[in-house]
Symmetry: C2
Subunit: 567 residues, 2 copies
């Protein structure tokens, strides 16, 4: 077999940017974006992205520069998922639920060249900039995104505005045409922070190749046919909306963008636009229950819902399905470039009793096609566990869709990739039917409303409170958010030798929570602080978090937000 | 952005072999193959392929060695699509409709190390080997595939038999484990001949990466959900069965293998196994009409049929759909690693009048997701034609799913890839809605029953007939095969000066056809030979084939195989 060389005709880099050009050519009459009264077709979206990319180049954006965006699910952040990489730059979508301090930490780490800000988040953005050193502030170009129907605010500081960039972009210029061609599919396309706090922000770098494969995998895993009408209930700043940003373009679908996720907003959009698909964290399933069921006489099929971030409670899935939704459970992580396990349904399972059926639905499932391998391995021996549904091990995976690594953090990168696998930290089993189920999540992560909270980061803040001697944070159940942090704290003994009375503890609990809210994003703050004489520890002095978790489990937050004991 | 290195965890070669391992792990209880009374599950198929691969290695098969197979759609040829590349070798599936001479030409060009032969094709194989020089015969190891239920024939020459290889394979041996890992996704996986004749066989080399992307593209283009029951009505030797060999594994589906394609066989299998999908050339649609319609009360959906190879006549599609099939038309070529344009259906089109709807259905469609670009270009200027449905140009494409090139034919390879695009030779238009439609096929290709016939090759054989002065071969319509070759011949003037009378021509037509059948595969032989005093030519002496095509179009072959004139 002689050596056949690769050439332009048979070796194009894999990049999701091709999906957009293809959509504009293959689906010229289809609606790409709906947002309030705004409508775009795929050729319009392609044109706007080309113009924006050209404008970015004219602002001297160079290859691999970081472009950050702070915005909810409005059309601009969707467009940036194509336009920024078209300019050779790397998109950095920021969690809008973070506080100024956390975002500033991201900026210090990522060193973005441009920040796009939704006008409604101006206060947060200005507070963040305020925390940056003068030089960094000067180096960061801030561009605001105004609502299309709102009169443009003119102020001396707002030199540049998003729509102005699109208007003046000249995609036909030679430099633009040159840059639009991605040279290497392993180049970074997005930088997604897994935790945005003061301590150590971890920036996950994903590649064109990785998101291309992940975008196709979610289409296949979800069996998403052509022309979906996709409702944006999952933030695009979460793993690029689990890659649906790109998948919807690949399918020639319609993106229904919404600013706020509420039951009336969701049901209104489903009705008006014939929504067929949506993704969300289990918390949003709760929100769906606050609305009416869908009028199925008007619909040929239920709305397909992909849910993940944490395992959805089976009772919740059951209730939501009765309203006219079909729920598919997935498991993913930012480091694996989105959803990697899909709970693929076998028709035979429909004959199972309802309870067992819902238990099947809550399992994490089987690996996507983009992965080369998924396994559950004994943490010590690194050997595969038997597929018996009982033996536990760590869920590991490998393949071209996995992240490139953590930005400027070789230690964390090599730790994540040791033994040639991505280590998820999640403990699970493999059932004889091939489905993986998580049995114990990575100890230090609390998932609240789909947001990962690293308990160690909350503990670090607590430790800085001068009266705190020891602190341990674990998950406690929450009716709305699934989980919420619960802190166990040992205070320094008072010099005066006074005993700790309940009354004082109550005051202190309020103080500590207030202190946390001043130093952490609100969703990360403990909803409950339990004071103890000492924390339970093993012989080596290691805090036994499972004991604390058991205590936390017995505490419940009532619907009126008071705390009670579970019976 | 610092340099993040690729490693084993995040950079696995793209190869369809992973689909098989995944199927065995994710779908352990599902049936992989049904063939008569034979049943395999995915773990069994994986095990058999590993064993076969190990046996190939023990036979000293080295990287990039060619392994040929001459077999209809039996389980063995399916297994070889995984086992041969697992051993690092390149699969060469041979068209069983070729004659010994054509196959021998392929062997001389491809230099295979092993030939697997279905026992029922033993005579053809022995005739082929007979045509090879002694040394080449000695270097080629021939292994027969016997029917599982048939008693094994013992003869001194049949040292090796397919099932014996599987029995004795030891996949756990260290050399096997090493080889099963593909190192480079650009490595060749299959060698598919586009024409297997004496003159110049063209061996299309496709890569692991190319077929991986094409396999996923056909899943998405066809919207093929999980667990299809796939009936093998398309030969696997045609572009690896348009990559469905690998796609069905990716989907955890069931392969229903059949030896012969006939109406009773197709309907029997659809009934017994709940077939959901099948691919075929339009000729098979004709065969479907010879059977009963499907009992749709027993089925939730029509059988999905992917058809291509040539444009299906609209009346035919209409009739077949009424029987309970849903036809999707695709366009592909071996050089593009299978189907590349899908006639994606828009629901709005259902409201069109039936005739117009069927015309939409006959268009070639839009490019698959694996392609980086598809276009229609003016052949002279290489500029894109306007998307007006009128302006014609050559259909060209580029992307990672395109072939690596032609084996040992750098001239043809560089010709195919000139200007950085794969040139299909097919002339078409782009409609304003983005769909491509072929208006004029590459002049020299006749498509008969889904087989491409290069008219030049037939002419070359005719020219060798001593009395032939000039010959030109073009397509004529055929009720069963779509097209069939029609030859126009000018004979040498007899020295004796006698005039050519009709009676003589009749004799000569029979002689020439008989001569062709002795020197060409039967499907390539002209069904009609028209004698002329001279061939129509332009000023430069070039034969005007379009004039001949017009004459050929007016000739029709009746259902009783006689020839008439179209009115």
């Amino acid at each position: 077999m002689d050596n056949l060389a690769l050439c332009e005709a048979n070796n194009a880099p894999l990049t999701p940017i091709t999906f957009l050009k293809r959509a504009s050519e293959c689906y010229p009459n289809r609606t790409s974006i709906i947002y309030g009264e705004t409508r775009f077709t795929w050729p319009q979206t392609y044109d706007r992205c080309c113009r924006l990319a050209a404008s970015l180049l004219s602002l001297n954006i160079a290859k691999n520069d970081i472009v950050s965006v702070l915005a909810p699910n409005i059309p601009a952040i969707y467009e940036m998922h194509f336009a920024v990489p078209m300019a050779g730059a790397v998109l950095n979508p920021i969690n809008t639920r973070l506080d100024a301090k956390s975002i500033a930490a991201i900026f210090r780490h990522a060193q973005p060249k441009i920040l796009f800000v939704d006008r409604n988040l101006e206060t947060l953005a200005r507070a963040t900039l305020h925390l940056l050193p003068d030089e960094e502030q000067r180096n960061l170009l801030v561009i605001f995104i105004d609502e299309p129907d709102r009169p443009k605010r003119i102020s001396s500081n707002d030199q540049l505005d998003y729509e102005e960039l699109i208007r003046r972009g000249e995609p036909s210029s030679s430099s633009a045409a040159r840059m639009f061609r991605i040279q290497n599919e392993h180049d970074p396309i997005s930088l997604n922070y897994t935790s945005g706090t003061t301590s150590e922000p971890k920036g996950v770098v994903v590649s064109h190749r990785g998101v291309y494969l992940s975008s196709l995998s979610v289409i296949m895993g979800w069996e998403m046919g052509k022309f979906p009408v996709y409702l944006w209930t999952l933030p695009m700043f979460h793993c690029n909306g689990w890659n649906l940003t790109w998948s919807v373009a690949a399918r020639g679908g319609t993106n229904v963008c919404i600013r706020h996720v509420s039951a009336p907003e969701i049901y209104k959009n489903i009705e008006s636009h014939g929504v067929t698909h949506m993704c969300c964290v289990p918390t949003v399933l709760n929100i769906l229950l606050q609305g009416n069921s869908l009028d199925m006489s008007q619909r040929s099929k239920p709305v397909q819902v992909l849910t993940g971030g944490s395992s959805p409670p089976t009772a919740l899935v059951e209730k939501v399905q009765r309203l006219g939704f079909e729920v598919l459970h997935v498991y993913g992580l930012t480091e694996a470039t989105g959803a990697v396990l899909f709970c693929e349904w076998h028709d035979e399972w429909n004959r199972l009793p309802e309870k067992q059926k819902m238990e099947m639905k809550a399992r994490q499932g089987v690996g996507i096609l983009a992965l080369a391998d998924v396994d559950v391995k004994n943490k010590k021996t690194q050997e595969s566990v038997p597929r018996d549904g009982k033996t536990m091990g760590e869920i590991v995976m490998k393949g071209s869709s996995i992240m490139k690594g953590y930005l400027r953090n070789p230690k964390a990168t090599s730790e994540a990739f040791k033994h040639g696998w991505l280590h998820t930290g999640d403990i699970g089993v493999i059932h004889p039917d091939g489905h993986i189920q998580i049995k114990d999540r990575s100890k230090d992560i609390i998932i609240s409303g789909g947001e990962n909270i690293n308990s160690i980061e909350v503990e670090n803040v607590l430790y800085k409170y001068k009266k705190v001697l020891e602190a341990a944070v674990v998950a406690m159940p929450h009716p709305m958010w699934g989980e919420t942090p619960c802190a166990f704290v040992v205070l320094e003994k008072r010099k005066t030798g006074q005993g700790d009375c309940d009354d004082q503890f109550m005051t202190r609990e309020g103080d500590l929570i207030k202190y946390c809210r001043e130093n952490l994003p609100h969703f990360m703050c403990p909803k409950r602080v339990v004071f103890m004489g000492e924390l339970p520890k093993n012989g080596n002095g290691k805090i036994l978090k499972h004991k604390l978790r058991n205590i936390a489990k017995s505490l419940v937050i009532n619907d009126d937000n008071t705390i009670g004991i579970k019976h």
